[in-house]
């Protein structure tokens, strides 16, 4: 039997061609990608300057301590870029900035803050106090109001009276001093849990001041729960406990899936 032609029939819409290639209706072919182009929008033409690199940061203020914790996973789309990328950044001996969002914006923000703090140190001959750093971070973010840093921050430390102080931010510098906060991809999973367990909302038992060791154990539990449900959270948790004596860092392993 003779065939008139051996060209495959032209069909409409995405055609699945063997060998892992997918051709969409625009005629573009995605070659051999493990996700078969599923995470790509075939009609997107605009370049987006932002990417979301995932992760969750939480912060808890105590009577004389502050705890800041963040996971160490760096991802992009469905891929993991690094399992050991720290989201915490020490600004002075008494305060730490935790940021989730677009890693490149976070790095630039940290650079800018470090420079400003150095200048302050040179001008005033002392390191910046925690509430002052908090205000400066808010101002720095608002400077870029019309092309924001894609950075979701939590900032925590010890204030001048020795009490724990944590602040939560949005991407354009609105901030507030709170008792507990969380940000990043796991924010929705984690904030109501912190409300219940640490801020003692909707509980009928007695409210008590939690010692920092207990808070650290709670933070580990919180990250285990968050890691279960959020794909961008996992690998390891870096927990920093800030007291007037300094900063203690604890690493805790999470599931790597």
């Amino acid at each position: 039997m003779a065939f008139r032609s051996n060209k495959p029939l032209r069909s409409f819409g995405p055609t699945v061609i063997p060998h892992g290639q997918i051709e969409n209706s625009e005629g573009n072919v995605t070659l051999g990608k493990i996700d078969h182009g599923v995470t790509e929008n075939p009609y997107e033409r605009r370049f987006s300057p932002y990417d979301f690199n995932g992760g969750t940061c939480i912060a808890i203020a105590g009577a004389d301590y502050a705890v800041i914790a963040a996971d160490t996973r760096l991802s992009s789309g469905y891929e993991i870029l690094s399992r050991k990328m720290s989201k915490l950044h020490k600004l002075t001996g008494k305060c730490i900035l935790g940021s989730a969002g677009c890693k490149t914006d976070v790095d630039q923000l940290r650079s800018v803050l470090d420079i400003k703090m150095k200048v302050y140190q040179h001008n005033h001959r002392k390191p910046m106090a925690t509430p002052a750093v908090a205000q400066m971070l808010g101002n720095t973010l608002y400077y870029k109001r019309f092309f924001p840093y894609y950075a979701f921050n939590v900032f925590g430390g010890i204030d001048e009276e020795g009490k724990g102080a944590i602040y939560s931010y949005d991407a354009i510098g609105s901030f507030e001093r709170t008792a507990v906060t969380a940000t990043g991809s796991g924010q929705a999973y984690v904030i109501p849990l912190l409300d219940n367990v640490i801020a003692h909302r909707n509980r009928t038992d007695e409210k008590r001041d939690l010692p920092k060791e207990e808070v650290v154990e709670l933070v580990k539990d919180v990250f285990i729960s968050c890691g279960e449900r959020d794909i961008y959270t996992g690998d390891q948790v870096e927990i920093a406990v800030i007291t007037k004596d300094g900063i203690e860092t604890i690493m805790f392993d999470l599931k790597a899936d």
Partner: protein
């Protein structure tokens, strides 16, 4: 590297300003338009189902009425959340379907206790019927139902908890711990994951379910205005009205 360069910033700025300038009425997601949330948790031989009471239209609250829950028998409950019109439609449809199947198979009589007990549908069967009904109408019901109950085998008196949540086209997801649906589902996943423990007794389960539900509802604008927790045990269903913020 920081990508701030004027040539890419300008189109972005113009795009942002255009969005802000046009007062466009955006189509709201039908699943979250009316709000509402559900949580079901399993304990030792008992199940707790928490429903909220907010019925709204976007940001506006319309009525304070608990989410619809149907109890075909004293150890089984199916609760619905989503677009309220579809919730009412689907629940009526489901009740009619189940009743007509039982009538066809077992007759119409419900006069004796034995007759009533013969008409008890198992949780797995109810979940199946609901799933098939959603898939048959593929994508037209914006409802995410939740089936929760105790499946007792006639041989033993042990009641195994059964929990099953479904998406709007009927994909079942059963769990031994908890299931949740609705506008606050992300927050509910967070709190329930942490507060659930295996083998909780009735009081512990009520507390865990209630606390997880309330904490999650406080962080969601589209759910709230009160909550009811139904505790299902082999003795029947008890309703608890929880006290909390009325928003």
């Amino acid at each position: 590297m920081n990508v701030y360069c004027p040539s890419t910033a300008l189109p972005l700025l113009l795009y942002l300003f255009t969005l802000m300038g046009l007062a466009r009425a955006q189509q709201q997601d039908p699943m979250t338009l009316n709000g509402g949330s559900l949580l079901a948790m399993a304990g030792k031989d008992c199940v707790a189902v928490a429903v909220d009471k907010r019925f709204g239209s976007g940001p506006q609250m319309v009525n304070i009425a608990p989410r619809l829950a149907w109890t075909p028998n004293p150890q089984l409950m199916v609760a619905f959340v989503g677009l309220e019109g579809d919730v009412q439609s689907l629940s009526q449809d489901l009740q009619t379907q189940v009743r007509s199947k039982l009538n066809r198979a077992l007759g119409f009589s419900t006069s004796t206790e034995e007759d009533k007990r013969r008409r008890y549908i198992s949780p797995k069967a109810l979940a199946s019927i609901t799933s098939h009904m959603l898939y048959r109408n593929r994508g037209r019901y914006y409802v995410e139902p939740l089936v929760a109950g105790l499946s007792s085998s006639s041989a033993s008196s042990v009641c195994k908890p059964f929990l099953c949540a479904m998406d709007m086209i009927g994909a079942k997801s059963t769990s031994q711990s908890f299931v949740c649906s609705g506008a606050a589902s992300k927050s509910l996943y967070g709190t329930a994951e942490a507060l659930w423990k295996p083998d909780m007794d009735k009081d512990q389960l009520l507390r865990a379910c209630g606390e997880a539900f309330q904490s999650a509802l406080e962080r969601d604008c589209l759910s709230g205005y009160g909550s009811l927790v139904y505790l299902i045990t082999k003795d029947g269903i008890t309703e608890y009205d929880l006290a909390h913020r009325n928003d």
